[in-house]
Symmetry: C2
């Protein structure tokens, strides 16, 4: 039996020890046809060269990570963030992906005003959404786990992400559903249905929840099957909501990064088949 | 001007480096008239001796921490948990407090079923709530931050805690509101109003949210004023909901524990006045 990997995409961060050419080779070796890319390694390799590399390798680019960080109060900082997000949209278009993932940003230093920060995100999207739409790029507002609310992303739930996204046309702004961030939320299945009904699920990402969390809580995302998340059930939720796009595996994990990247990719494919198909 | 400390209570864990007699002395020195106690140090000192000590010192005991861990599937484990919680109720009664805080427990090993675990908590409370009520002890279901959902507490929001508590009379089961756990939740103010209207706010605790979080995310609760939480606003929410009980400061913080406990208590009182009065 050959596993169906047609929906699988590997997020570059999962195997960030691989260079872009190594990633393309490893994908070919593992039967993987799609990747989610990150701006920093793409820029390092060269945007046009990266676009050519993935095109020549026959890889689909399912997402570009990431824009966002749109909560600044300071006008100059805000202007810099908008300019950087326009560049991110342009990069997505060059890479041939139609989804730019947004990590919205945390509280500015000294601020305790979560609703105010969320409002500034919506204000920034009013500028960015038409720009993205004109270039065929959809913005995916990603709710991050509430443990990141202060310093990384004031959008903590799918409900909040949709409240923002709904102010714009669905082909301009939707949401990213990542199991790592939403698995604890009993309201998330209903919000997935809401997002699907509006055609706003712009990407679906998998990671498992393992404990103990590491210092800084960034790089402890669990390999599929090792944690508390019923991955198959969450995949069922997005598919019941009409999602037919890629299922991207995005792990930030120090232990995985210390290993051979090709081996990690092959293992991730096996775990995807075992736990999410 | 003398600050009004009539509502202030120091949770023993904040200054766990102090023995019970040292804690009583430090409270007298700082003008603190109320304490939240923990079962382990109380048992170590001796339950009756601890009760006599706080009584002789004129200290009110605002809460006992903690019962709970009620999510076991295994019948023997469940029976042990119930027995331990009955003992916790008895201890609360001996110490003269009418509030036992419950940390409900995480997922049993191998389970990914959050709703099932929550249902077992309600089942256990059906046994424990009348037992507590007969002894004049109120159970306070504490929602813990969603980052603890897997391994410590499957009750992640005030809404979930109230959904469970509402199955029982308010004098038997209510909720604990701790800013550290609920500050990120935009629905929490409405849930506080709901809890207050039912007379189910059985304790209110303060801690601030600081980053980066430490490994294991247990012992990084921020000193009042150092973090992202608008403590005065949250105190306003519970008071607008009719809460007139103690405002307890409960910090788990390695840096505070490494310092002189009397100094930490005096500083905590000052920070309470500066940031939560």
């Amino acid at each position: 039996m050959t596993a169906d990997l047609s929906r699988f995409s590997i997020n570059q961060m999962t195997v960030r020890q691989l260079s872009l050419p190594e990633l393309a080779d490893a994908c070919a070796a593992s039967g993987v046809g799609a990747v989610g890319l990150w701006r920093e390694p793409v820029r390092e390799y060269g945007l046009d060269a990266a676009a050519k590399l993935v095109r020549d390798a026959g890889l689909r680019v399912t997402t570009l990570c990431r824009g966002g960080f749109l909560t600044a109060i300071d006008p100059e900082e805000r202007a810099r963030a908008l300019a950087d997000n326009r560049r991110a949209v342009d990069e997505a278009a060059v890479l041939g992906t139609d989804v730019l993932v947004l990590v919205s940003g945390g509280l500015p230093a000294g601020s305790k005003d979560l609703p105010g920060a969320r409002e500034r995100i919506a204000d920034a999207l009013a500028v960015l959404a038409p720009y993205a739409g004109e270039r065929g790029v959809k913005l995916a507002v990603e709710p991050l786990h509430p443990m990141y609310a202060a310093d990384r992303c004031v959008v903590s739930t799918l409900a909040q992400a949709l409240d923002i996204a709904e102010r714009f046309p669905a082909h301009q702004v939707g949401v990213a559903v990542d199991t790592y961030h939403v698995w604890w939320d009993e309201d998330a299945p209903a919000q997935i249905a809401r997002a699907g009904a509006q055609d706003r699920i712009h990407t679906f990402q998998l990671a498992d929840w393992t404990t103990p969390l590491p210092e800084g809580v960034l790089n402890g995302r669990g390999p599929l099957g090792d944690g508390a998340v019923d991955l198959r059930e969450w995949r069922g939720h997005v598919e019941a909501a009409g999602y037919t796009g890629a299922v991207e595996v995005e792990l930030f994990n120090d232990a995985l990064w210390a290993r051979d990247g090709r081996e990690v990719l092959a293992e991730t494919v096996r775990r995807f088949v075992d736990h999410a198909c």
